[in-house]
Amino acid sequence: MNKTRTKRRQGAVAASPSAGAVLENEEIWKLLFAAWLIALGSTLSVLFIGEIMGQTPCVLCWYQRAFMFPLTVILGIACFRTDGAVWRYGMPLAVIGAAIAIWHTLVFTGVAPTALEPCGQGPSCSSENMTILGGLPLPPLAVGAFGTIAVLLHLVRKRINS
């Protein structure tokens, strides 16, 4: 009887988080929240540019959208639940999105050969329309957004594994 009670008490102590664990949890949530804010801001910005300003996205922009939109949803849910394990799902999306954004930046700046440009028909991947706020180019901004999200998710991973 006494043994059972002691076990229950021990279980309760183990289940209740220590001060260190709470702080760690708080840090993980802040990192997730920052990553989610970047994804949310990027998603709403590209929707604004595409749907409201009427600037048709090019092929590479569509590929990047395909990786940014799910990030917004899964990072939002992860923030809501404080689920640090989301880095396993978010990291591949962020890294692949960053790779496409780097490719787009190289095409935009003219470093990559024209043969690598997938935008044959429709809006050009390297036109001067790819700017916002008076000349700020969109492809490097996308690299920054995907890169920052990847770094933040990496920090989440480090916090969980430590």
Partner: protein
Amino acid sequence: MTRRTLVVLTVVIALSVFAAAGMWFTGKDMPTKRRDRS
């Protein structure tokens, strides 16, 4: 304020700003058009 409340509040604010910016951007010429019609 709990974390969950903050997340929900952020969604609400972000969508409100998006909607307001959209209305501002698409409707900013409306007063001129109305004046022309009258």
